[in-house]
C-alpha cells in the first residue's frame, strides 16, 4: 500500500490585497507533497512569499485558490523566524507551556537531544539567540508532531551554532520519525539538511526545480568539503541563473 503524503498542496495560489484594494499574486500554482520521515527544503529569493507558503503548509493560513490536503490533522508545528519563547517562563515551563502539568522526564530527554540539558531553570532572555532557537526546536519536538515547518528559523545563527543545530536536527528527525519542511534562503543550509530541495522563483512565487539530495555524511564540516555537495550547490545557482534572463537572486551561500 502506498503511503499518502503528510500534506499536499494542489495548484495553490495566494493573493494579497493591499489597503488600496490592489491585488498582488504572492504564490502561483504551487503543487507539492511532503512525505513521512523526510527533510524537505524550500529555497526562495527574498520577498518571494516563502513565509506565506510555509504558513499555508502549517495550516496557519488559507490559500486563495487550490487545495490544501492535511492527512495528519493537528500534528504540524510551525517554527517561526524569531523563536517565540516566552521570556517570563523558564526553560521547563516554556517546554510545557501547552500542557496543564510539566512532564519533567520527557522535557529533560528532549532538552538533552538539542544540547540544553541542565538548563531547565534558566530564562530565555538570560541566554543566547542560539539557546532560544534550540529551545523553540525542543518545544516543537516535545509534542511529538509528524511535521515541523521551519520558516527561516536558523538565519540569524552564527556558523558555529548553525552546524551544531543542523546535526541535532538531523538526529531529532531520526529519533522522532518526523518530517521537516524547511523554508530558507541559505543554499548550504538546504543542502546540509535535506533529502529533497525545491527551488522557488519570485514574482510570482512558483516552483522552478525539485530534486533529491542523498548525502551519507552526518557531519556538516565533512559535507561542505564534499565534491558532490559543491556540484549540487552549483546546480541550484545554475537553475536560478537560467531562470529570468540569467538574473541571479541574492542568496546566502
Amino acid at each position: 500500500m502506498k503511503l499518502s503524503g503528510l500534506i499536499e498542496l494542489e495548484n495553490v495560489s495566494y493573493h494579497h490585497e493591499n489597503d488600496l484594494g490592489e491585488s498582488k499574486i504572492i504564490l502561483d500554482d504551487i503543487s507539492l507533497r511532503i512525505e513521512a520521515n523526510t527533510i524537505v527544503s524550500v529555497i526562495a529569493p527574498k520577498d518571494a512569499g516563502l513565509s506565506s507558503l510555509m504558513k499555508i503548509c502549517a495550516n496557519l493560513m488559507e490559500p486563495s485558490s487550490g487545495n490544501y490536503k492535511n492527512h495528519i490533522n493537528k500534528e504540524i508545528i510551525f517554527l517561526p523566524t524569531e523563536p517565540s519563547t516566552f521570556p517570563w517562563l523558564n526553560v521547563l515551563d516554556n517546554m510545557n507551556v501547552m500542557f496543564k502539568e510539566n512532564n519533567e522526564y520527557l522535557t529533560r530527554e528532549v532538552l538533552n537531544q538539542v544540547g540544553l540539558d541542565g538548563y531547565e531553570d534558566q530564562f530565555p532572555l538570560e541566554s543566547s539567540y542560539s539557546f532560544r532557537v534550540r529551545l523553540a526546536l525542543a518545544r516543537s519536538i516535545i509534542t511529538n508532531p509528524k511535521l515541523i515547518v521551519v520558516d527561516e528559523s536558523f538565519k540569524y545563527l552564527v556558523d558555529e551554532d548553525r552546524f551544531d543545530i543542523y546535526e541535532k536536527l538531523k538526529a531529532l528527525q531520526k529519533i522522532h520519525n518526523c518530517s521537516f519542511l524547511i523554508g530558507t534562503r541559505n543554499l548550504s543550509e538546504a543542502l546540509l539538511l535535506s533529502n529533497r530541495i525545491i527551488l522557488l522563483a519570485k514574482d510570482p512565487c512558483s516552483i522552478i526545480d525539485d530534486f533529491e539530495v542523498n548525502f551519507t555524511q552526518d557531519s556538516c564540516v565533512e559535507l561542505v568539503n564534499n565534491e558532490d555537495f559543491l556540484q549540487k550547490r552549483n546546480r541550484i545557482i545554475d537553475s536560478y541563473r537560467y531562470y529570468k534572463n540569467h538574473q541571479m537572486y541574492r542568496f546566502t551561500i
Binding site: A58, L60, F86, W88, M98, K100, F123, P124, E126
Partner: protein
C-alpha cells in the same frame, strides 16, 4: 579599546538637570541682580518656608500622597488578583474594550464634577474617583497589551495547539502583567495630576486646595516653590515605581 563611559555621559538627564540648576542659581543669585525673570533660589526657599508655616502644606501633601498611593496600590492589587479573569472576559467579549475608551468621549472633568456633587467634597469621593480613573487606565493598558502581543506568540499558540484558557493564563495574562508594571510610573503621573485637579475643583483637601489658595492670594513665588517640591516628589515616586517594575521583571535582570 573599550572604555567605561564617564559618569557625565552615563547619567545624561541627571547631569543636564544639575547643570541647569547650577546655571540658574549662578545667574539669578550672582549675575542678574535686580532682574528676575524667574524667582531666585533664596527667594524660593523663603517662599517655601512661608507656605510651610502659613498653609496646611503637610496635611495637604499627606492627603494627596495617601489618596493616590492607596488608590494605586488598591487598583494594582485588584488587577493582580482579578486580571486573569478580566483577560478571559476580554478574549471572549472583545467589545468590552469600548468601555476603556469613554474618557475619549466624555471629559474627565465631567466625572470629577459628578463625584464632587455626589460625595460633597470628602475623602471617599476623591478616593472612589481615583480608583475609577485607575481601573479605566490600567484596564486600557491590559487591553492594549493583549492586542499588541507579539504575533509570534499567537502563531505559537495556534501551532502548538494550545488550549485557549491555558494560553490566556500562561502567556497573555503574564505578558500583560509585565506591561501593567511598566506603565505604573506613567499612570501615577496622570493620577497625581488628576488628583490635584479634583482637589482644586472640589476645594476639599490635598495639594489642589493649597494650589488654589496660592493662586487666589497671588503668591506666585510660593506656588513656584510648591511646584518644585511636587516635581521632586513625582521624580522620586517615578524612580521607585520604575525600580519595582524592573525588579519584578526578573528575567531581564
Amino acid at each position: 579599546m573599550n572604555q567605561e563611559p564617564r559618569a557625565i555621559f552615563k547619567y545624561p538627564v541627571a547631569t543636564t538637570l544639575l547643570t541647569i540648576v547650577l546655571l540658574y542659581t549662578v545667574f539669578t543669585e550672582l549675575m542678574l541682580t535686580g532682574f528676575y525673570p524667574l524667582p531666585k533660589p533664596s527667594v524660593l526657599y523663603t517662599s517655601f518656608c512661608d507656605v510651610y508655616n502659613n498653609y496646611p502644606l503637610k496635611e495637604g501633601f499627606l492627603d494627596t500622597f495617601l489618596l493616590t498611593t492607596v488608590a494605586l496600590t488598591f487598583v494594582y492589587l485588584f488587577y493582580k488578583i482579578f486580571g486573569l479573569w478580566l483577560s478571559y472576559i476580554y478574549i471572549h467579549l472583545p467589545a468590552i474594550k469600548h468601555l476603556s475608551n469613554f474618557y475619549k468621549y466624555i471629559p474627565i472633568v465631567f466625572f470629577a464634577g459628578l463625584f464632587i456633587i455626589l460625595f460633597d467634597y470628602n475623602y471617599y469621593g476623591e478616593f472612589l474617583f481615583l480608583v475609577m480613573f485607575l481601573i479605566v487606565q490600567l484596564g486600557g493598558v491590559l487591553i492594549k497589551s493583549i492586542e499588541n502581543m507579539q504575533q509570534g506568540y499567537f502563531e505559537a499558540y495556534k501551532s502548538l495547539n494550545m488550549d485557549q484558557n491555558l494560553f490566556v493564563k500562561k502567556v497573555l495574562w503574564k505578558g500583560s502583567l509585565v506591561e501593567i508594571k511598566k506603565s505604573l510610573p506613567k499612570v501615577y503621573h496622570k493620577l497625581i495630576l488628576v488628583a490635584i485637579g479634583y482637589e482644586y475643583l472640589g476645594l476639599s483637601v490635598g495639594m489642589g486646595k493649597i494650589i488654589k489658595l496660592l493662586i487666589d492670594l497671588q503668591d506666585y513665588y510660593g506656588l513656584f516653590s510648591v511646584m518644585i517640591v511636587m516635581g521632586i516628589y513625582m521624580f522620586v515616586i517615578d524612580r521607585l515605581l520604575d525600580f519595582y517594575s524592573y525588579r519584578t521583571r526578573f528575567w531581564e535582570l
